[in-house]
Each structure stands twice: as structure tokens, then as C-alpha cells.
Amino acid sequence: MHVGRKAMKGIYRILRCSGNCGWGITLLTAICLTLLSTTSSGTGPVKTSKHKKYAELTCNDCHLKTKPEPLTTEQCLSCHGSLEKVAEATKDLDPDPHNSPHYGPELDCDLCHHEHSVSENFCAQCHEWELTVP
């Protein structure tokens, strides 16, 4: 488990404030559990990478030499072409997830596609169709 310096300081401060009572320990347990759960959900070290697995890319191919921040759609398109080109690949699907009746092709990639966690179907927040999102 990687606990950042800031988080450690926070825990220390809470322990100091709450003194030597059971309350502080309960709180510490809660914090540890929270940290554990956020680590496993993706803010901690990366466990999976679809582009690494399927396209044999390295971290720096996408994140360049910057901090490992979420990618913008423009960065995705630097390899994948244009939104229209992406839509072309799925034009026979009905409904076509890359050509929404509401938004056209203009949706950010990461609304559905997640590189390091399970992808989701953005349309499913209002619609009920099945869609396997890579």
C-alpha cells in the first residue's frame, strides 16, 4: 500500500487531536480501509493496462514523460485518427455508440473506455441496451 506523505501527515494530526482513546483508533482503521479501497480501485499503482496487454505499448507511449494523468481525447486521437474515423469502425452497429443521436460522434473516449479499470457504457445511464465496451 502506498500512502502519500500528505495522507500520513493527516493521519498523524487526527491521532494527535483525538488523544489516547478508542475513537482515534477506530478512525485510523476507517482511514486505512478507505485508503486500501481507493488503492485497489485505480488511484494507486496500476495493475492492468489494456494497451500494454493488447498493443504492447509502454506507459510512456500514452503518458509521454508527464505525470501519469488521465488522457485527453485529443491524446487518444493522436493514434486513433479522428472521432469520425473511430465512428466509421462501428457504423454497422445499431445503436452506434460512436454516433449518438444526441451528441453525434463528439463524446470523450474515456466516458466509456477505461484503460486501467473496467470500461462502462455511458449510454446505459439512460438506455438499456447491452454493449461490450473494450
Partner: protein, 518 residues
């Protein structure tokens, strides 16, 4: 443990209490002025040390209203920016049914339908139980046709088809060619692109800054915000040199806030709205002293199906084949129980009173009147939202409805078609209605969903937000579902689109005409 907690509570000093409740600032105000703060002064917040950016007119929200405001403000020569908290533009407008109430449209003229803004105004007032602010309703009715023309001529929106929706005296609801609000929103977005105005998504309004005279000076927002994570993104401040336009929509999907207004609307009650239809924008306006108008009038859509998510496609089948050309029955009795064309409130309440989903029935002829984009009925059948039966008897058996009474209900309705009068519920009988005799028969389950919040902040006909001191809050405008008064207790279908566009444009024009404060 218990003793410790009690001791802690006792030791909580008065100063801590004041700090926790924000009372310390109020006391300080009293000490400094010797008076209790006026609502205006209470709205004054400590200004940021520096503004990260500045713009003449800042619009919050990117639905019909916000985008219309941005277009008008830019066209009037102001610099404009639009912030949208969600990661996609368009709010509810871009997923809405795309039908606009217009009095005296060319489509009505072509069909020989006589209408006037007086009649539209009367319809809106009547449905609104006369709780409407009449001058606002009047403005929407009067401006409906000019705004419709603006959509066609200036934005390039395509309309076709005319619907007769519940509560309207005549057919006046003009449908976009795709039956989607996106047909209007996307044209608004294109226009803004042409005009060079950026719509920034994932940008959340956190705080409004005012000076001690109450003038709005700017906002604090979060960029790269990820709804609904409050602390996501990065804080920035934006100076609004002329005005701020609030167009953040309604709160149908804000379970806590809507339950505060109407405790019946628990989480289990579904909504037709997008997830971002929440109350933060409205609450920020209330916080700075805007006057609330009727927030507890919350509309449920009687045409909603519990067998699909959100607004879905079911309403297209319910509105035409069932409400205009078929019947709706209570499955417990097999009888009709309300005029299928009564206003939404009356219909939704009537369904809820039965305690279970109503069954909408249509025959083969009625089903041909299914609205929505091409292929809607086929999709509804595929998804089992609408079900098809070879006989009326099979339909009744499948839905556990007493067959004999349904036959009676259908026969009665058929006789009303012949006489032109619904003797039971006074429903308007369509001129081209045919008796329900032709198989196959179709059924849809109907159970209301939270759809629109009529209440909001008070505005005047200039779209200025009115404060608790009964004066317009300087440098602040609002338009669309965040405002209250236009629709009173009950909004008629297709009147929100026109409300948003009319008042959005007014807000944008007037915001651009404000004098810059810096």
C-alpha cells in the same frame, strides 16, 4: 464513551459553535455596523485576491436556455464563456423530446388550425392553477412564434409534424425532425462555434461573489470537475464584468432536495432526467438571497413506462396511440379512470392513486400514430416496453385485467368517436380517430416518473433574478428550469423548450447590455 461525548459537547465553546455555524461572521457584521445584515450584505463574500480570467458575460449551464443566452450575448458584442458541470454539453435539453409549443406557427396555418398567443397563455395559466406569474407566462406565449422562427431562420433547426399534447386546446406542439432536443441544442452549439464561444464541459460553479451592494462580480468554479465528486478538479476564479447568467436547470434527479420539497418523491421513484439534474446551482442562488418561487411543484410524467430507463421511447407510444387514439385503463377494474388528455399532474396523480401501473391500450389503427423517430414502435416491441396481442382477450389475460369490462370500456370509447363527445371524462376526441376494432392490440404499462421542477428562483420579464429585498440582484440573470413562475403548478408538455429559449435569449441580450463594473 458516552461520558466523553457529553463532556466534549459541554466543552464546545461558544466561539467554536459560532465558527461551526457561520454565526461568527454575522456577529462581526453586527459589531461593525451596529445593525443586523441586510440580505444584500449577507450575500457579500470575501473576494478572491486575483481573478484567473475575466469575461463580459458568463453563462452557467449548456441546455436550451444557457446556449440561447450565450448566443444572444455574443451576438450583441460581449465576450462570453459557458460552463457546463457535466462532461457532455446540453444537460436535459439534449436528451429531451424536442417538441416546442408555438402559438400561430406556419405548421398550424398549413393544417388550418386557428391559434393565438392569448389561447396558449390561457392554457398555460389554467394548467398552472393560476399560480403562474402571469407576466412571465404572457412573455413565453407572445414570444413563442418569433422564437420558433429564430430557431428555423437563424439556427437552421428543422421541424416537422404537429402534436396535440395534453392540456393544450389545439395542436400546437411542433416536433423537431428527430424528436429530440438535440436537434435544437446541436444547432445552438454549432452557432456558438461559429461565433467563437467556448462551451467548457466538466466545469462546476462553486460560489458566486458579490460586493457589499449586492452586485455579482464573478464566480469560483472547478475545471476538470468530475460529477458528482465535490472536490474534484481545480479551483479557478472568473470575473463577470457585465453579468452572470444562471441556467443550471431543474432538480428532478436531486433526491435529497426534491424530497425536501415533496417527501413522496423517494429514491425509488424514477426520473426521466439526466444524472446532473441536481440543485447545486439553484441552492447557490438561494444562498446569495434570491427569492424562491414554488419549489414544491414537481411534475411527474404520466406517459412514462416502468419497463425502461429514463424518458425512453414509451412516451411516444403513450402520447399518440394511447392518449389520443386509444384508452388507458386501471388493470384492477378494466375501466378508464381519467381523461387521457388531462394535464400531466391530473393524469400522474390519478395513476398513482390506483396504487399500480395503468395499462394503455391501442388497436392496430391507433398504433400507426406512434410518434418518435422512425422505427420507434418496432424498438418498443423488441424491448418489450410495448407488447402486441392477436386479440383483446389475450391482452387482458396477459395483464390480468377483467376482459368484459375492458370490452365495455372500448365500446363506450368507440361510441364517443361517433358522437364526438367523451361523456365520461370530457376528453378531446381526435377528428381522425377510428373505432378501436382492428387487431392486433397493443399494451404499455404506465407509471409516472419525476420529469420537471416547475419552481425555482424569481425572475422578472427581463430575466433578472429578484432578491429577498424585492429588487433585482445586480449583474445576475436566470433562465429556464432554474426559474419559477412561468408554469405555475403544472407545466404543459412542450412549454419548457419554448420557455427556455425565450428567457434564455432575453437573459443573454440584457446581460450584454449591462454596464461593465471593471
Amino acid at each position: 464513551m458516552k461520558n466523553k461525548r457529553e463532556k466534549d459537547a459541554k466543552n464546545l465553546s461558544r466561539r467554536d459553535f459560532l465558527r461551526a455555524t457561520g454565526g461568527a461572521a454575522a456577529i462581526a457584521g453586527v459589531a461593525a455596523t451596529g445593525l443586523v445584515l441586510s440580505p444584500r450584505e449577507a450575500g457579500a463574500t470575501e473576494l478572491p485576491k486575483k481573478w484567473d480570467s475575466a469575461v463580459d458575460v458568463l453563462v452557467i449551464g449548456s441546455g436550451f436556455a444557457g446556449l440561447a443566452a450565450a448566443i444572444e450575448a455574443k451576438a450583441a458584442g460581449s465576450s462570453v464563456a459557458v460552463l457546463e458541470k457535466m462532461r457532455v454539453p446540453g444537460g436535459n435539453s439534449i436528451i429531451n423530446g424536442g417538441v416546442m409549443a408555438v402559438a400561430g406557427s406556419y405548421i398550424q396555418a398549413k393544417k388550418g388550425i386557428k391559434d393565438s398567443s392569448d389561447l396558449m397563455y390561457e392554457d398555460m395559466m389554467k394548467a398552472g392553477l393560476y399560480l403562474n406569474h402571469p407576466e412571465l407566462t404572457r412573455m413565453v406565449a407572445d414570444q413563442s412564434n418569433p422564437t420558433f422562427r429564430w430557431c428555423i431562420d437563424y439556427l437552421g433547426v428543422g421541424f416537422k409534424g404537429l402534436l396535440h399534447m395534453g392540456g393544450h386546446t389545439v395542436a400546437r406542439s411542433c416536433a423537431t425532425s428527430t424528436y429530440s432536443g438535440s436537434a435544437i441544442v446541436n444547432k445552438e452549439l454549432t452557432k456558438l462555434k461559429e461565433l467563437g464561444v467556448k462551451v467548457e464541459t466538466g466545469a462546476y460553479l462553486e460560489k458566486i461573489f458579490r460586493d457589499k451592494n449586492g452586485r455579482v462580480l464573478g464566480v469560483q468554479a472547478r475545471e476538470n470537475y468530475r460529477f458528482p465528486k465535490e472536490d474534484s478538479g481545480k479551483v479557478k476564479t472568473i470575473k463577470t464584468k457585465k453579468a452572470l447568467v444562471m441556467a443550471t436547470g431543474g432538480f428532478s434527479n436531486d433526491v435529497t432536495f426534491r424530497m425536501t420539497q415533496d417527501p413522496k418523491l423517494i429514491k425509488k421513484v424514477m426520473s426521466t432526467n439526466q444524472p446532473g439534474a441536481t440543485a447545486e446551482g439553484l441552492k447557490e442562488l438561494l444562498k446569495i438571497g434570491a427569492t424562491p418561487v414554488q419549489p414544491s411543484w414537481i411534475q411527474l410524467g404520466p406517459w412514462a413506462s416502468p419497463d425502461e430507463k429514463g424518458f425512453g421511447l414509451g412516451p411516444h407510444f403513450a402520447s399518440g396511440p394511447v392518449f389520443s387514439y386509444g384508452i388507458m385503463v386501471d388493470p384492477a377494474t378494466g375501466k378508464r379512470f381519467i381523461s387521457e388528455l388531462a394535464n400531466r399532474k391530473i393524469r400522474a396523480d390519478a395513476i398513482i392513486r390506483t396504487g399500480h401501473a395503468a395499462i394503455g391500450i391501442s388497436d392496430h389503427e391507433g398504433a400507426q400514430k406512434c410518434g418518435g423517430p422512425p422505427g420507434t414502435l418496432e424498438k418498443l416491441l423488441e424491448r418489450s416496453v410495448v407488447k402486441k396481442y392477436d386479440t383483446l382477450e389475450a391482452l387482458c389475460k396477459a395483464h390480468d385485467i377483467p376482459y368484459e369490462t375492458v370490452v365495455e370500456s372500448v365500446e363506450k370509447y368507440n361510441s364517443y368517436i361517433n358522437t364526438g363527445t367523451d361523456k365520461e371524462f370530457g376528453r378531446y376526441i381526435q377528428k381522425d380517430a377510428k373505432p378501436m376494432v382492428k387487431a392486433p392490440f397493443y399494451a404499455i404499462r404506465l407509471w409516472p416518473k419525476v420529469h420537471h421542477t416547475m419552481g425555482g428562483v424569481q425572475i422578472n420579464t427581463k430575466a433578472q433574478v429578484i432578491g429577498l429585498d424585492e429588487e433585482p440582484i445586480k449583474g445576475l440573470y436566470a433562465a429556464g428550469e432554474i426559474t419559477g413562475g412561468v408554469h405555475g403548478a403544472v407545466r404543459l408538455g412542450s412549454c419548457a423548450v419554448v420557455d427556455c429559449l425565450v428567457f434564455g435569449r432575453i437573459a443573454g441580450k440584457n446581460a450584454a447590455a449591462e454596464k461593465s463594473w471593471s
